[in-house]
Amino acid sequence: MSEPVLRLVGISKRFPGVLANDNVDFELAPGEIHALLGENGAGKTTLMNVVYGLYKQDEGQIFIDGRQVEIHDPNDALARGIGMVHQHFMLVPVMTVTENMMLGHETTRGLRLGLLSDLDPDRVAEEIKALGDKHGLSIDPEAYVRDLSVGEEQRVEIVKALYRGAEVLILDEPTAVLTPQEAEDLFSIMRSLIAEGKSIIFITHKLKEVLVIADRITVLRDGRVVGTTEPSKTTEAELAAMMVGREVILQVEKGPAAPGEAVLEVQDLQVRDLREQMAIRGVSFTVRAGEIFGIAGVQGNGQAELVEALTGLTPVEGGHIFMNGQETTHLRPRAITETGIAHVPEDRHKHGLVLVYPLDENLVLQTYYLPPFAKRTFLQPKEVRENAIRLIQEFDVRTPSVRTHAGSLSGGNQQKVIVARELSRDIRLLIANQPTRGLDVGSIEFIHRRIVEKRDEGVGVLLVSSELDEILGLSDRIAVMYAGEILAVMPAEEATKERLGLLMAGVREAPDSIAAD
């Protein structure tokens, strides 16, 4: 193999209480897609942030094209042809695509007045259009980022990196938020970039993707490199074991469901989205105690609004919602929570956690005002703390302490905190929206097992997911949502990937084949 474009030697990075990277060696060959795998908190993002100049390594050297370099800030990285698409996108929502492209690297026209020169958005728009067309990344330069879908935002991020002259592209969990179709598109874009001589570091938790797209695979665990291998020499199960350090059961084990009375009844529900458009157009379904009711569908077909309406976060336009026999259609979120509802929200930063609060306080967000956590309006820090210690151990949350701010945990560990909080309460209905997004295989296995356990305890589960494997593996009954309607409801045995895929694309079935509810 020729000289690596990027070589890391003995990189270590320490955070208070955590050794995030421990003497890591890594190589990226030219024209290679090198996948980086590892559990949540294994140190993947940290390692890449060191390469990109956002963090400074405590020890170790970075070589680019064989020469040792010092990377102090992102400018250094960009100047040396390293571009990064971050796990949480780095675009300014209130600006246009063009403005985001220019930011920090502006093209101007007319008088040269330094920072006060006249911006030239037209020329940049042309340039990025051309760049996008070349790689099959269609984007609208005039669009505001806040109006883009996640997939579009990601294309903008990739073009942004290319626009800044990236030769090495780092993609941090690019597929976590994409639909299967969008992920396919991303792979063909990656291949076209490789064909042009660029090199890519690809971080993901989806082992299937790694085997399809990567040339080499490096696995991190607890900040150390466990090994490097190639897709032809390994299997999903082996990779999972390397990541987690034990055998992982990729298939969910569950017995038949024993459905009881209805815990959630939705009748002809109608909801508007933020833009006042009808997002849910008359949806009806029932979830029973002791069953998992899965809602499949491509993201953006009303699932988010459905969950927000059920949990009281969005007003209901029409129809009725009954939980445990009680009408909750227009109740406030706290009143709904108090009827015995747990909610694992889609966006863990916006709705799941208070990022600047420590973990122990995040773990009592719905119960802080009740005994034992409060006595006569006074918070009981000891109880709050003990609760946290117990849950962190039970749910294997990797954190230096219970007083660590939620914002400094890795994405996967943040998700575990939410699941721990929701499942630890006395509940009758669990509403889980994308509960395993961004999680490693070990954590997914763990959370899936917890959800099935809850079902077996007689809790009704409403599972919303765009991950077909998750829906098929967990659900007892499956509904498919498309454009704000439920196109079909079927028992899990009658569902196949193909059938669900067609429904998710909006192809309606002939009336006689729709299974009765």
């Binding site: 992102p74 960009l78 300014v92 209130v94 403005e99 930011l103 920090g104």
Partner: protein, 378 residues
């Protein structure tokens, strides 16, 4: 009411709006980059005192040999520098020490009141320092000859023109230059700005400090173009009204000027009322009418931008606009009985206008997303 009265009123409104607009621009530079600035009042007060001291001391040092315009300019520059230093203090508190920005602002306001009062008591009053005077009126050739318009816009003292120029420059700079792009990015999503190599904290330091210089001009205006000498607490809350104008103007300098003009108009009317040459009730009806129409207009524009399709709101806007027109018509057509309103109450008018405007609009204005949050690199 005749045209002389109207042009006089609008002329005065522009004058009264000037310090508010300078203050609002100071807030704009700071808040657009993500640093809350409630210390505008303190910066203006410091600027006012230093403008006075600067011009007087410069005049003394040169022994009155130079034309007084040099002393006035010296005062202006001293005001800008000292207010910028006060702003720098706010920046160091908020950015380096990550002190809560509201608290830092409050501390600076209190500090400014204390220091300026002390200097006034210990130095200015005992010596009976007299001011150097004020900037002369500059009539713009030709333009100032235009009837009505010329009187309102083109025969002012220099800082009024400077204010109008700065509003235009800032509006352009904020949306059309690399400086503006970076400033907005830093205020909206500092991490994104960091990942493209922008130094977030440096940008904030520079913006807050330069903004302070603008607030200094606003304070200097009170001395160098209005009263001619320093009085204790002479800003009388204009820094806070500037903040309201900034918010009401949706964090743009043109918007801020618009709302500063509204406040300026209210203040001008208050002044005229206190002079007693206007019928109070008539003036109130006029002000209410104009206020309501501005409100309805702003609302309609907002709605157009958001393309909302709510019929009820359309009706509300219509009703508001007609009520405003009716009020103006009534003001002009009726013969109003004259009533005595206590003078203190009239002086209150601008502040009542502030409260109404804030009550109506603050909920709708969206501040920069990262405002008030110190940037933590990692």
């Amino acid at each position: 009411m005749d045209s002389v009265f109207f042009s006089g009123l609008f002329f005065l409104a522009l004058v009264k709006a000037t310090p508010i607009a300078f203050g609002a621009m100071a807030g704009l530079m700071s808040e657009r980059s993500g640093v809350i600035n409630i210390a505008i009042e303190g910066m203006m007060l410091t600027g006012a005192m230093m403008a006075f001291l600067g011009s007087v001391i410069f005049n003394d040092l040169t022994g009155g040999t130079l034309p007084k315009i040099y002393s006035l300019l010296a005062g202006l520059i001293v005001a800008m520098i000292s207010a910028a230093l006060v702003a720098l203090l706010h920046a160091v508190f908020s950015i380096h020490y990550k002190v809560d920005q509201i608290i830092s602002g409050t501390v600076i306001n209190l500090l400014s009141v204390g220091v300026t009062n002390f200097v006034a008591n210990a130095y200015i009053d005992p010596r009976g320092l007299a001011g150097v005077g004020v900037f002369p009126v500059i009539n713009i050739p030709i333009l100032s000859e235009i009837p009505l318009i010329g009187r309102i816009f083109f025969s002012h003292q220099p800082l009024v023109y400077l204010m109008l120029i700065m509003v235009a420059v800032l509006q352009y700079a904020l949306f059309k230059t690399p400086w503006g792009l970076r400033t907005r990015a830093v205020g909206e999503h500092p991490r994104a700005a960091d990942t493209v190599g922008i130094n977030v904290n440096r940008r904030r330091y520079i913006n807050v400090t330069l903004g302070g210089a603008l607030a200094g001009i606003g304070g200097a205006f009170l001395v160098l173009e209005s009263v001619g000498r320093f009085q204790k607490l002479m800003t009388t809350g204009r820094g806070f009204i500037a903040l309201a104008a900034l918010i009401f103007g949706k964090w743009t300098s043109v918007g801020a000027l618009g709302s500063a003009l509204l406040f300026g108009f209210a203040e001008a009317l208050g002044v005229r009322l206190q002079l007693g040459d206007v019928n109070e009730l008539q003036a109130l009806a006029l002000l209410a009418g104009i206020g309501i129409i501005v409100l309805a207009g702003a609302w309609a524009v907002l709605k157009l931008i958001r393309r909302g399709a709510d019929q009820r709101r359309n009706r509300t806007i219509g009703i508001l606009a007609s009520a405003g027109l009716a009020s103006i018509a009534a003001a002009l057509l009726f013969d109003w009985p004259s009533v005595e309103i206590p003078i203190q109450f009239l002086g209150l008018m601008p502040y009542i206008a502030t409260v109404l405007v804030l009550a109506g609009f603050v909920g709708r204005a969206i501040p920069p997303a990262a405002i008030g949050k110190p940037y933590e690199k990692a």
